[in-house]
């Protein structure tokens, strides 16, 4: 990749790293929420559902701002994380990962829910009559059968995380090597005189990554469907 500058390679590597952390962070919560929203009836379910979807409808800047309030050095959660675990989020790539995780969370949950809704509850009942307790059933029947949705959700969220701009720049700023991901680098290039060529290259990388993600997701989905015999 000699036609990419060191800065651009850095942005690419950082984007992948941030997206990877983001997916890793949100995956367990997304599975849990997808399950709760699909399989549980409780008061406030609609509100929770709306809350999960909030990042889809709010301006990303608002999400970034809310994250600053909550997870900033003096925010209730951010302060506690730093005191208790020494985790710093503000101006760090972990912070960027958090911002992208929140933004791509609804996409992930949505993909998993569609998949989970297609899992025949009769199979869980069957497992139950065979002696499987709740956790056992989830781990051995529900989760494997919703795997296509989990994978699709993870890949979609990964692709979306690579491109998240507004929430990231608001929450963790635009620091080269730490929070300057591909879209931020692209934005910076456009702001820099003579950065047109760099902007074009970064845009091209983004397109290739996005397309690759979609194709990969489709390929995975097919493999899994084949595995499940559908």
């Amino acid at each position: 990749m000699t036609w990419l500058s060191a800065n651009e390679i850095e942005a690419l590597a950082l984007s992948l790293s941030v997206a990877f952390r983001s997916v890793l962070l949100s995956l367990p919560f997304a599975v849990l929420l997808a399950w709760v929203l699909t399989r549980r009836q409780f008061v406030g379910r609609t509100v929770l559902d709306a809350f999960v979807h909030l990042p889809l409808v709010l301006p990303p800047v608002v999400i970034g701002y809310l994250l600053l309030l909550l997870f900033g050095a003096r925010g209730p959660i951010g302060g506690w994380l730093e005191r208790a675990f020494g985790i710093e989020l503000i101006f760090t790539r972990n912070g960027a990962a958090l911002a992208t995780a929140v933004m791509s969370f609804p996409l992930m949950v949505r993909a998993m829910r569609i998949s989970l809704e297609n899992v025949d509850r009769g199979l869980e009942d069957a497992a139950r009559t065979l002696g499987a307790g709740a956790l056992d059933r989830f781990a051995t029947i529900t989760l494997p059968l919703m795997l296509p949705g989990v994978l699709a959700g993870a890949i979609t969220a990964f692709s979306a995380a690579l491109g998240e701009f507004g929430a990231v720049i608001t929450f963790v700023s635009n620091i080269p090597g730490e929070t300057r991901t591909l879209p931020l680098a692209l934005y910076t290039a456009l702001q820099t005189p003579g950065g047109d060529a760099a902007a074009a290259r970064l845009a091209l990388i983004s397109c290739v990554l996005g397309l690759g993600g979609l194709l990969l997701s489709e390929w995975f989905a097919r493999r899994v469907r084949h595995m499940l015999g559908r």
């Binding site: 065979l130 494997p144 015999g229």
Partner: protein, 359 residues
């Protein structure tokens, strides 16, 4: 003994069920589609909550709403064979079976080899579940339920999704299970043929209620059962004892009541029990001893009741020595022969119209 009582109201539907089954035995929950049979076995399995009721299997109280006992389904040790098998699609046949085996909560008394033998699963073991035919799927589902080492087996219309030839293919396996394993079974069906071949007891369900119950012979005479199975299938199911082969004809002689029937049936040991269905439409009633007829079977008896069945015909109940059979005759015949309770009659039936089954 399996004792079940359950009440459940859900919208306009009300379940009010109560039955008992001596164990081991096979009880058929019989009734029209939508009469609550599946709801009732889901309550027995614990998958549905009853408003009130109890489920007691021998000494084990699995449900008693008064004592606030409600053992969760995963600890009830009740095997459940679903109408559409519910095999786990992400596991092979062998893995489906092992899934049950590994989760059994008591020492194994039904082993993988036995199940594989009884249900002919050997050749299917490494297949994926979507590669199985409907009948094969049900065999695997039955095997899987057995490997969970159940104290009771529930079968929810396991043959319903199969065509006639597949049903015939699967029924012998179910008969083998009944004969070789002493596991009590509750068999849900709206097919009287299955019931006839498998069940020892019958519980009749009508719009959510259990309206009658008893052993199969008694229940074969029940008006509610007759109404469901249709005029042509009405008939007594009698239990008989094999007396031996008839040397001239090669037919099997079977004692029923104080009379004797000759039936087509392969080999059976003397003293073995057979169940024979005598369809009402196939019986001929005579008031004098019949002579020089091709009919092989003539049973003497006493009319116990004349029941009007429809505008044209009556059902005549005849006691042939502690066993009741029923014949359908036209009302004109009832009048001409003067059929009435107390009259001695001969009941004639052709051997070719008898359908014997082992018990």
């Amino acid at each position: 003994m399996l004792k079940v009582a359950a009440k459940k109201h859900r919208g306009a539907f009300a379940l009010e069920a109560q039955f008992e089954l001596p164990t081991p035995g096979v009880v058929a929950l019989f009734g029209r589609s939508g009469c609550g049979k599946s709801t009732l076995i889901n309550v027995i399995a614990g998958l549905l909550k009853a408003d009130s009721g109890h489920v007691v299997l021998d000494d084990a109280v699995l449900l008693d709403t008064q004592q606030h006992i409600d053992v969760p389904p995963e600890r009830r040790r009740i095997g459940y064979v679903f109408q559409d098998a519910k095999l786990f699609p992400h596991l092979s046949v062998a893995a489906n079976l092992r899934y049950a085996q590994r989760r059994a909560r008591v020492p194994a008394y039904v082993g993988m080899d036995l199940v594989s033998d009884l249900l002919d699963l050997g050749a299917l073991m490494h297949r994926r579940t979507h590669q199985l035919s409907g009948g094969e799927r049900q065999r695997v589902a039955i095997g899987r339920a057995l490997l969970s080492q159940p104290g009771l087996l529930l079968l929810d219309e396991p043959l319903a999704s199969l065509d006639a030839s597949r049903r015939e293919e699967l029924l012998p396996y179910l008969e083998t299970l009944r004969d070789q394993l002493a596991i009590p079974m509750v068999y849900v069906s709206h097919h009287f043929d299955d019931v006839l071949r498998l069940a020892t007891h019958l519980v009749l369900m009508e719009s959510g209620k259990t309206t009658a119950q008893g052993n199969l012979s008694d229940m074969s005479l029940n008006p509610g059962v007759r109404a469901i199975i249709g005029a042509d299938a009405v008939g007594a199911i009698v239990e008989g004892t094999v007396l031996g082969a008839d040397p001239d004809s090669g037919l099997l002689r079977v004692q029923v009541g104080h009379g004797e029937l000759k039936v087509h049936f392969g080999k059976a040991a003397n003293g073995a029990k057979l169940r024979v269905q005598l369809l009402a439409r196939d019986l001929i009633v005579a008031t004098r001893a019949p002579q020089q007829l091709s009919v092989r079977n003539s049973l003497t008896g006493v009319v116990t009741a004349v029941m009007s069945d429809d505008d044209d015909s009556d059902l005549i109940a005849i006691d042939i020595g502690g066993t009741i059979i029923i014949a359908r005759v036209t009302k004109a015949a009832t009048r001409e022969l003067g059929l009435a309770a107390g009259l001695s009659v001969w009941a004639l039936v052709k051997t070719v119209s008898l359908r014997p089954h082992p018990i």
